[in-house]
Amino acid sequence: MWKVTRDLFKYDGRFRIATVFLLAVLILAILSAVSPYDPGKTFKVPQDLPPSWGHPFGTSSRGQDVFWWMTFAVRNSLFLGLVTAAVSRLIAIFVGLTAGYRGGLVDRVLMSINDSFVVMPVLPILILLSFLLRGQLSLLMLAFIMGLFGWPWDARLIRAQVLSLKERAFTRTAVYSGTGSLKITLDEHLPFVLPVVFATTVNNMLWSIGMEVTLSVLGLSNVTLATIGTTIFWANQHQALVAGVWWWLAAPVIIAIILFLGLYLLFSSVNEYIDPRTRLRLIGG
């Protein structure tokens, strides 16, 4: 693992940039632990101060230090993205591998469930749920709900790959080696599926963080909680741009861009690395 990271860092510019960006965002999130201010409290600092040494990102019209507020916002948004990705990846891998390898009735049942999720309009449903549970909707619950919607496309992708792997001779070799289907799936097929899983993880994080921004800007999430989305919501509420408090809006937008770019670059760099073809070239094929 260390060697992989070192190689990527040494030979791939995208990976270097991604590391810097993501580290910056991560450090920001970690700093939330030592924040002098509670994000739930307002009017602890003077309002509408432009960026300065004392307040690097300035202060908001709600009397909060934007820098320290953002540490919580980033932490919560990342948490949401990671949980959503983890939940939906688990479902996608399980459904994709099972449907692909077992085939037959299992495949048909799983894929009809899959397709029902595909055709469900996610945004209206999320809006409805948020509206109904407004106030009680915790970040974890939101992440789980989004996770439940984030898997079907990727499950199909994994299934398609397993279907073609199943026809390859090495799967038959494993069968005639007396290997059971669970072990075939894990040993023979999972290594080929992992690049897809990784690619879709990053994709899924981007999707869920973006979705949360959408919900928040509409005012449908728990706006007392600091996230990238709620920051923008509050800034809009106080007409930050009209009032000239541009730093209040610039901070979340720039941090979101850095986070998204970092994730994207990490995705494309690592994806190329774990592509079986690259792995083959590396081991000298």
Partner: protein, 330 residues
């Protein structure tokens, strides 16, 4: 003057992945001449460099493949070209299809799967001859097809509607429509059944006999060479080890590798035991020094391990690269 002369050609693949650089010496010191009006057979096992050699000869040199050294020189009827320095535009407009055409295994890639065969003909003829008259074009193609003994209705079919053998014969028809000086046939019958293979090769041979052009026939199947080629070259690990007229190669092979290949061929009616060579062809990223066959050679000598054997010409136009011959002469 030979149609094609290749001199001391070296073409390597250079790759670098995450700091690990590799050089694959796919073609490493090949010299050969193709004469007019002959079928030249090139034989060799997988990854012996024959595909790379064809890529260079036909001017499809793309990174990571690079020509390190050597000359590839053509003398067509009216003009000559240096394949390593020709502009892509010149190659496309004046050489491809018109002077050098290419038939490959399966030939699905030359026939567009979603268009009728006639359309592919149209595309090729119009880009290379500037035809605008559809009637004259159709006449030319029909005449060509019927001369080759193909049913005229194949032109209106889609490639997937043709059987493998018919598809390959259509590919040959396409490749010969401008009467090129050189036809490169790369494993043209490898995926085909024996009965169909026989038909396709018969057609190729007839065309050659009629238009007196040159065919470079590449296949690993020595029995095909025995029946089709005029001369045969045997490649091993990036080099040609022996080249001779077909009957000499089969009746009096001189290189130990060729001798082994010929002797190990099974034949119907003969159940005598066939031996197999120890070892395997070398990895061209890390080939053995000296003669590349020496680790497997039953007659290996000390000199074989250090010195690359020179190509020597023997009576009967037989060329062999083996230290045993120099030894015998001394």
């Amino acid at each position: 003057m030979a149609l094609l002369s290749v001199q001391n050609l070296r073409a390597y693949y250079r790759t670098e992945v995450y700091g690990i650089s590799r050089i694959v010496r796919a073609v490493d010191g090949v010299s050969l001449e193709l004469q007019r009006n002959e079928i030249y057979g090139l034989a060799g096992e997988s990854s012996c460099g024959k595909t790379t050699l064809i890529k260079v000869i036909s001017g499809t040199i793309k990174p990571p493949l690079r020509v390190e050294e050597g000359k590839v020189h053509y003398q067509f009827g009216s003009f000559e070209i240096d394949m390593l320095h020709i502009s892509p535009e010149d190659l496309r407009r004046n050489v491809r299809w018109k002077e050098i055409s290419y038939i490959m295994q399966g030939s699905m890639s030359v026939l567009n799967p979603v268009r009728r065969v006639i359309t592919t003909f149209y595309d090729i003829v119009t880009t290379h001859q500037g035809y605008t008259d559809r009637k004259a074009f159709l006449g030319q193609v029909r005449a060509h097809i019927s001369k080759l003994g193909l049913p005229p209705d194949v032109l209106n079919l889609y490639p997937h509607q043709l059987s493998g053998g018919m598809r390959q014969r259509v590919a040959i028809a396409l490749a010969t429509i401008f009467q090129p000086s050189l036809i490169i046939a790369d494993e043209p019958t490898t995926a085909l059944d024996v009965v169909v293979q026989r038909g396709v090769l018969q057609m190729l041979k007839e065309i050659q006999a009629e238009s007196n052009n040159t065919v470079l026939l590449v296949t690993h199947d020595l029995a095909v060479h025995a029946n089709v080629a005029d001369r045969v070259a045997i490649m091993y690990a990036g080099r040609i080890v022996e080249e001779a007229p077909t009957s000499l190669i089969f009746n009096a092979p001189r290189h130990p590798y060729t001798q082994h290949l010929i002797r190990s061929l099974p034949m119907i009616g003969d159940r005598s035991s066939r031996a197999s060579l120890p070892g395997a062809p070398p990895n061209l990223a890390n080939p053995p020094g000296g003669c590349r066959f020496h680790p497997r050679c039953p007659h290996v000598m000390d000199i074989c391990r250090v010195e690359v054997p020179e190509m020597m010409t023997l009576p009967g136009n037989q060329r062999v690269a083996c230290h045993l011959l120099a030894e015998g002469r001394r």
